[in-house]
């Protein structure tokens, strides 16, 4: 289906261009997989025009979940439906293992030099183009003392007002590991984390099925305090909701959003250029601004607005940040999901 669509888009775009500008009939196009929501909107508004301006190419953006993306590339490895995609920490490991990604040509990237070592893919598949941070979201009207630690969720005052999600999501996995670490555990030993979650049950008012639903529960007053992504909190706050974000004293868990070229792309050179473009300070600065409020990865970009709730600069954010090594626990995650389903009852 995707091939057909791509061919069709190519034909349509091609013929349209051929009619308008005969000389540009051979113009290239690049297909980029994004995330649903504001990320996709931001890419369309910011990245698309830049690609046309800088490379004279057209672009098409498709928002989808990483897992869906893996399935689509696997279904057509030799003629993948995308040239470039952005990846979360978990799925990119699967994509790398399955050989779906093209190595990043560092020498051809003027902007790569800007990137700190921990924002470069350890296996050389590309740079992080954005950061996602996790902290404590809370309703400042109901919770008068701003929380400072994950331990605050266990405060008996918050009985029935805490929301959590299970480890099937990045948010739930991170929360579980962070809690485990506070109780003497680690990325590979989440036993203390499960013990702590069982104690937390007394305080838990809702366990929504995914981070999006947890955000809704916060905005509707179903719960008043919960771990959440900074992006979700910022989006709600931008709309005037009573919500605030606190950075836990134990550190700010950070995820990277890695941009990578897809193997067997029809335009491999263009794909590499687009990855470089995504970490370009100009593009990053535009995506950092409202309404997209992306946390940029390039330290050259200044932070403004809500992003300053997390840190003064990107360097500051990275200093406070904690990166989890997903390769260490990705294999154990399915069992954590099942264990959470089985053991954490409200």
């Amino acid at each position: 289906m995707q091939i057909d669509r791509r061919t069709m888009l190519g034909i349509l775009a091609g013929s349209a261009m051929a009619g308008a500008f005969p000389a540009m009939a051979q113009s290239k196009e690049v297909f980029i997989a994004t995330y649903p929501g504001s990320v996709d909107e931001g890419f369309k508004a910011v990245v698309g025009p830049q690609i046309r301006q800088k490379f004279g190419a057209t672009s098409a953006f498709s928002p989808m979940l990483n897992t869906d993306l893996i399935g689509r590339i696997q279904a057509s490895r030799n003629n993948p439906p995308f040239d470039v995609a952005i990846w979360d920490n978990g799925p990119i490991i699967t994509a790398k293992q399955d050989g779906l990604l093209e190595k990043f040509l560092e020498s051809g990237s003027p902007n790569y030099a800007d990137m700190p070592a921990n924002l470069r893919d350890p296996d050389g598949f590309g740079p992080a183009m954005a950061l996602t941070s996790i902290g404590i979201a809370y309703n400042p009207k109901k919770i008068k003392t701003p929380p400072t630690s994950w331990n605050d969720l266990w405060n008996p005052e918050y009985k029935g007002r805490v929301g959590i999600v299970g480890p099937a999501s990045t948010l739930g996995t991170t929360f579980l590991i962070e809690v485990a670490k506070l109780r003497g555990g680690s990325e590979t030993n989440v036993e203390p984390g499960f013990a702590a979650l069982k104690e937390l049950v007394a305080n838990v008012g809702a366990i929504p099925p995914n981070p999006g639903a947890l955000t809704t529960a916060l905005s509707q007053g179903q719960v008043d305090i919960a771990p959440n992504f900074f992006n979700n909190v910022a989006a709600l706050k931008a709309r005037g909701a009573d919500i605030a974000f606190a950075v836990p004293s134990s550190g700010l868990p950070l995820q990277t959003v890695t941009a990578a070229a897809i193997k067997n792309s029809r335009n491999p050179e263009l794909a590499q250029k687009v990855v470089d473009l995504l970490i370009d300070p100009v593009v990053q600065a535009q995506l950092e601004a409202a309404p997209w409020i992306m946390m940029p990865a390039n330290p050259k970009v200044a932070l403004t607005g809500f992003n300053r709730d997390v840190g003064a600069t990107v360097g500051d954010v990275l200093k406070r940040g904690i990166f989890l090594d997903w390769t260490k626990f990705i294999a154990s995650r399915p069992s954590w999901v099942e264990r959470f389903n089985r053991e954490i009852r409200v």
Partner: protein, 282 residues
């Protein structure tokens, strides 16, 4: 001529058959293939995912609970639909048109939107809790969202049209004189309902029941958003396996097991009901 008619009949059904094959059969076959493969890269035959799905007591418990949820919702929806049907039966053509319109009205709104509406109604600071607290009936908000009862109420509302329409249709087909005859023979209202109206409307009720059962036991969006993350039903379990932890093959096997379970129940009920309808007076 007969043969020609038959051929053209088959031909006219061909587009639909093609659509069914491409849009339904092919994906199902692909799903079966994925479920029988060891991993997503290449096909290596294995039954390990089915063995896992069928021997994991926790997953089987979820499967059973999901089917129970479907039955609970279907029975509750039937209870809600019959009073509407009885009113429908008594109404003239205009009244009936209004009732059908009111039944169909919610369907003009997307199920996701209706589900969100239920979250707002049932929430801790939702319409019901705020109202009850403001008139002083309760002091602490009632827990309704993320509870099974709340979920069943929402699913009943969402699936009511699928139950009410076939029940109305079969009630409308009942000759009014049958009801009068029963009353004239001294039967109470309830006795007439139990012995005449209910059995004669069962074909519609069973059609509605099967639609509601299949729909509500697989209603991922409503189950997760109103039911929450703690009430794990098969759709959420499959979602977690596929999207959460990328175990596609296991998720496919669970999907097939779930689909077959629903089919078995639908098929069994269909057979039983036909038998029941035929032998109702034996």
């Amino acid at each position: 001529m007969r043969a020609g008619g038959a051929v053209s009949g088959y031909l006219s059904a061909a587009p639909l058959a093609l659509l069914f094959t491409v849009a339904y059969l092919v994906p199902v076959v692909i799903l079966v293939i994925i479920s029988l493969s060891a991993s997503t890269s290449g096909f290596n035959f294995t039954l390990v995912h089915y063995v896992a799905a069928l021997t994991n007591g926790f997953n089987l418990g979820i499967l059973f609970d999901t089917l129970v949820l479907g039955l609970q919702v279907s029975f509750a929806t039937m209870l809600a639909a019959y009073p509407i049907g009885l009113l429908f039966m008594r109404c003239g053509p205009r009244g009936r048109a209004i009732i059908v319109f009111l039944i169909l009205l919610p369907m003009l709104t997307n199920t996701v939107v209706r589900t969100f509406a239920w979250m707002i109604i049932l929430g801790r600071e939702g319409v019901i809790n705020i109202s009850l607290m403001s008139i002083g009936w309760i002091e602490e908000p009632l827990r309704m969202l993320y509870t099974r009862t709340g979920l069943i109420v929402a699913l009943v509302q969402i699936f009511l049209p699928l139950m009410a329409l076939p029940i109305n249709a079969s009630l409308a087909r009942i000759n009014d004189n049958l009801v009068k005859a029963a009353e004239g023979l001294g039967a109470s209202r309830f006795y007439v309902f139990r012995t005449v109206i209910l059995p004669l409307s069962l074909p519609g009720a069973i059609a509605g029941f099967l639609l509601t059962f299949a729909g509500s036991s697989t209603a991922f969006v409503s189950q997760t958003l109103v039911g929450g993350g703690r009430q794990i039903f098969m759709p959420l379990l499959i979602y977690q396996q596929a999207i959460g932890v990328q175990k596609w093959n296991a998720a496919a096997a669970l999907s097939i097991v779930f689909a077959i379970s629903i089919l078995v129940i639908v098929f069994a009920m269909n057979r039983y009901s036909r038998k029941y309808l035929r032998g109702m007076d034996a």
